[in-house]
């Protein structure tokens, strides 16, 4: 019995020939697109990339609802929502540039890797011409970088870190949401009025780009008031149990706890802080206070009773009484039966703003759509007069300082607006945060 042996060279040759044969058609297929995923048919595909699992899943679910609503309104279905109050009237309710909007969805899992894989799928397989979403700054930054490389527009969803439009900004990326710098500038004076200028703060910080950014901003503005920072402790994202981090606060001598947490992390850490009796404590002769710099109604609802009287800032709140907000709350409420969160609001705005910019530009080409957004001034989307600043692709608008309501009238009515900080007070020069936009990328034609 002799088995037929085949030499190494024969094998290599066969492999190479077979390989070349298969590879050839893929390499030489001409690509007839003027820019990445140029829509050729009667539809245009948008990619909604949100966390459906992980610490920010609640926000993600609400974001997706808002995107679906926005797609409906852009296609002329439903009651039109904020399109009726939006100052730009370019959108005609027949999709974008005459093409009907369809969308694909994906789960970012609140992880940078998964978010990029999901966004890549949308770009490479589904032909999405714009990616939007992200409920975590690290995923937003990762996906923004990817969109820049691939040559599609990225409309950031809920991302609050300075870096998104600071150190890590990209020409193809745009953010409607506010950032930690603005939160700090808005919260500072309110905290001074409420707690005085002689306080010792203890920070618990989610250990990633957003947490670092917010810790830095709050530290900067509270120290300007004369506060001291006792210590800043980093906690892993999605820790669940924060008791080991809260115990040292009790004996530290600090009299303010700043929770740089968001989503379920904030619900857990705040609930545990209250259970440990922090709010009933007296330290240095003052009532112990807790501050949650970035607030959302979803979180406040999750934390229930514990949020009463706790200060924070937010991008938008459903109880605002301007026409835009009222129209949005009405159409969101009709479709889903409850009011939208700030995450839903910013995502809805981003979808509308993108659609409007494409309509005004008359194309989906990133290098034409982007400039249509740069320096764009608009109103009627719930935040008052707003501007997309050209130098860093960041929206500037008034910031809301809110407080957990002492006597809520419904389970959604958990926050009250303490102060509307005008845009001028939170504005900063674009160079302050560093980074480089670079040129637009239309992708490989």
């Amino acid at each position: 019995m002799s088995k037929r042996k085949i030499g190494r060279r024969d094998m290599l040759k066969t492999t190479a020939v077979v390989g070349a044969g298969f590879a050839a058609p893929m390499v030489f297929v001409p690509r007839a697109y003027a820019y990445t995923n140029e829509p050729k048919g009667a539809t245009v595909t948008l990619g909604f990339n949100v966390p459906q699992t992980g610490a920010y899943a609640d926000e993600g679910a609400d974001e997706l609802r808002a995107y679906e609503l926005a797609a409906e309104h852009i296609n002329g279905e439903g009651d039109g929502g904020m399109l009726n109050t939006f100052s730009s009237k370019a959108l005609k309710g027949n999709g974008i540039n005459g093409k009907q909007v369809i969308y694909v969805t994906g789960d970012t899992q609140t992880k940078a890797d998964a978010a990029r894989a999901s966004a890549k799928r949308m770009i490479e397989k589904d032909g999405a011409v714009m990616i939007t979403g992200g409920s975590s700054s690290s995923t937003a930054i990762a996906v923004q970088g990817l969109c820049q490389e691939a040559g599609v527009i990225f409309m950031a969803g809920l991302t609050h870190s300075n870096d998104t439009t600071g150190k890590d900004k990209r020409a193809n990326g745009f953010r409607h949401f506010f950032n930690t710098e603005m939160s700090g500038a808005a919260l500072g004076p309110v905290l001074k009025n409420a707690f005085g200028s002689d306080r010792v703060a203890y920070h618990l910080t989610a250990d990633y780009t957003w947490g670092w950014s917010q810790e830095g901003s709050i530290k900067k503005y509270t120290e300007q008031l004369g506060w001291q920072t006792y210590e800043t402790v980093r906690t892993p994202l999605g820790a669940g149990d924060f008791s080991q981090y809260i115990t040292p606060v009790l004996t530290s001598g600090a009299d303010v706890l700043v929770l740089n947490h968001y989503g379920r992390d904030m619900v857990n850490s705040l609930t545990q802080a209250v259970q440990f009796g922090l709010r009933d404590k007296q330290v240095n002769g003052k009532d112990f206070a807790i501050v949650v710099p970035l607030y959302s109604r979803l979180m406040a609802q999750g934390a229930g009773e514990n949020v009463k009287g706790i200060f924070g800032s937010t991008n938008w709140h459903w109880s605002l009484q301007d026409e835009g907000s009222k129209a949005f709350v009405r159409s969101f409420g009709q479709k889903y039966g409850f009011p939208p969160s700030q995450a839903a609001h910013t995502c809805y705005c981003q979808a509308i703003l993108y659609a409007d910019a494409c309509e005004r530009a008359g194309t989906f080409r990133p290098s034409v759509v982007g400039p249509a957004l740069e320096g764009f001034k608009f109103d009627g989307l719930g935040n008052g007069p707003t501007e997309y600043r050209a130098s860093d692709h960041q929206c500037f608008k008034d910031v809301l300082v809110v407080k957990g309501k002492e006597a809520p009238t419904s389970k959604f009515d958990v926050l009250e607006v303490v102060e509307v900080t005008p845009r001028a007070q939170v504005e900063y020069p674009a160079e302050m945060l560093g980074g480089e936009l670079g040129p637009y990328n239309d992708g490989t034609a």
Binding site: K5, V18, T53, A112, D113, A142, Q148
Partner: protein
């Protein structure tokens, strides 16, 4: 050169693997998986699982910490891009070497124990690496945000060659061929074919036989006066190198490295891949990796709109019912489907999908033979 030859069956296996990998874009298209990113994941995690199988499938040592080497490979590759050059070759060579180096250190310690104690030790090391990458070593790993390229990276070799990427963020390229999209997939595909070939050689070598002997009865080997530890360590290092290479390739096609790649769930994933496909078989781990990545990327993307369209032919109430039931298993519920599939396979096909294929082919062969026998009986 007798040592470099393959038996006919192995050659067919390798040729078949080559065909499937290089024809991937065409073969996978009907399944909705024929796009570069997922194809890249298929071959990269295929490499990871094949390497893991050299340890687990042959020696029986169940490592619960292989994702650590994957992560080390990724970080190494990204640093190679940042410091040296955007060419992927140094990146993957360094990633492989560093993966092997860490495997040698960790393996040397962990292999003093066997069975569950070995698994726990590797798990502990992987979790330590993850925590180091996540917080302690933030200057090297950039923590939770992940290590990314920036325009101002030095890239010494590129600078020496006078290569300037201008104002855009560079992406990796092999002498001018960009490493994203299909070219990136073919690059990874060719590497995976080489890895598969090496795995066949290891499986068929005397060294492979020794590893199998460790699996079947290590005590007996020890009693005969043979020190098994160097063999087990060598297997551990080889599989660590495979993992490092896979991690490096992940960074080649997408220059970003995050700590979550090292988390215990990622280590668990490669165990699932191997068992799902069939531990100890050559092709099984690759198939397992493909199935899991397919679920993760395709099933998770099904939303209610797609389901509504899929059940369009049914009357409306039934359509809604079907959508409500099936939506539990797709979209964010894809883990549930994967879990159910895993249970079914472990219970009914302990040898993984490969056992299923073998049984199926035996069945078909049996039927064919039965027919032939019947025919010849009639003819007689």
């Amino acid at each position: 050169m007798r040592t470099l030859t393959l038996s006919r069956n192995d050659l067919i296996l390798l040729a078949g693997y080559t065909l499937v990998v290089l024809g991937g874009p065409i073969i996978m298209a009907p399944l909705g998986a024929g796009y570069p990113d997922l194809l890249q994941k298929f071959v990269i995690f295929g490499i990871f699982a094949v390497g893991f199988n050299i340890l687990f499938g042959l020696t029986g040592y169940l490592s619960f910490g292989h994702a650590a080497f994957l992560g080390i490979g990724s970080y190494t590759a990204v640093w190679s891009f940042k410091l040296l050059t955007m060419n992927p070759l140094p990146a993957i060579v360094l990633a492989t070497l560093l993966g092997g180096l860490f495997a040698a250190v960790i393996g040397y310690i962990c292999l003093r124990r066997t069975g569950i104690y070995f698994s726990i030790l590797t798990l502990a090391f992987a979790q330590m690496s993850y925590n180091l990458a996540y917080s302690v070593l933030t200057p090297i790993t950039n923590g939770e945000t992940g290590l990314q390229l920036v325009q101002s990276d030095p890239r010494i070799l590129d600078a020496a060659a006078g290569r300037d990427y201008g104002a855009v963020l560079p992406s990796s390229d092999l002498f001018g061929i960009p490493m994203n999209g299909y070219p990136g997939f073919y690059f990874c595909g060719v590497v995976s074919i080489v890895c598969f070939y090496l795995a066949i050689r290891i499986f068929r070598s005397p060294f492979g036989l020794m590893l199998r002997a460790i699996k079947s009865n290590q005590n007996r080997l020890n009693y005969t006066g043979l020190n098994t530890q160097p063999y087990a360590l060598a297997a551990f290092v080889v599989s660590g190198m495979y993992a490092g290479l896979a991690g490096g390739l992940l960074a080649v096609v997408d220059p970003l490295a995050g700590a979550e790649r090292m988390q215990w769930t990622a280590s668990g994933e490669v165990v699932l891949m191997t068992i799902l496909g069939g531990a100890g078989t050559l092709l099984g781990p690759v198939i397992g990796a493909g199935v899991i990545k397919y679920f993760e990327n395709i099933f998770s993307a099904f939303n209610e709109g797609i389901l509504m369209a899929a059940f369009d032919f049914l009357p409306e109430p039934i359509q809604h019912l079907m959508v409500n039931v099936t939506s539990l298993f797709v979209g964010e519920g894809w883990h549930l489907t994967l879990g159910a599939l895993f249970m079914v396979i472990v219970i009914f096909l302990p040898g993984g999908l490969m056992e299923g294929f073998n049984r199926l082919s035996a069945l078909v062969a049996g039927i064919v033979r039965g027919r032939r026998d019947g025919a010849s009986a009639r003819g007689a």
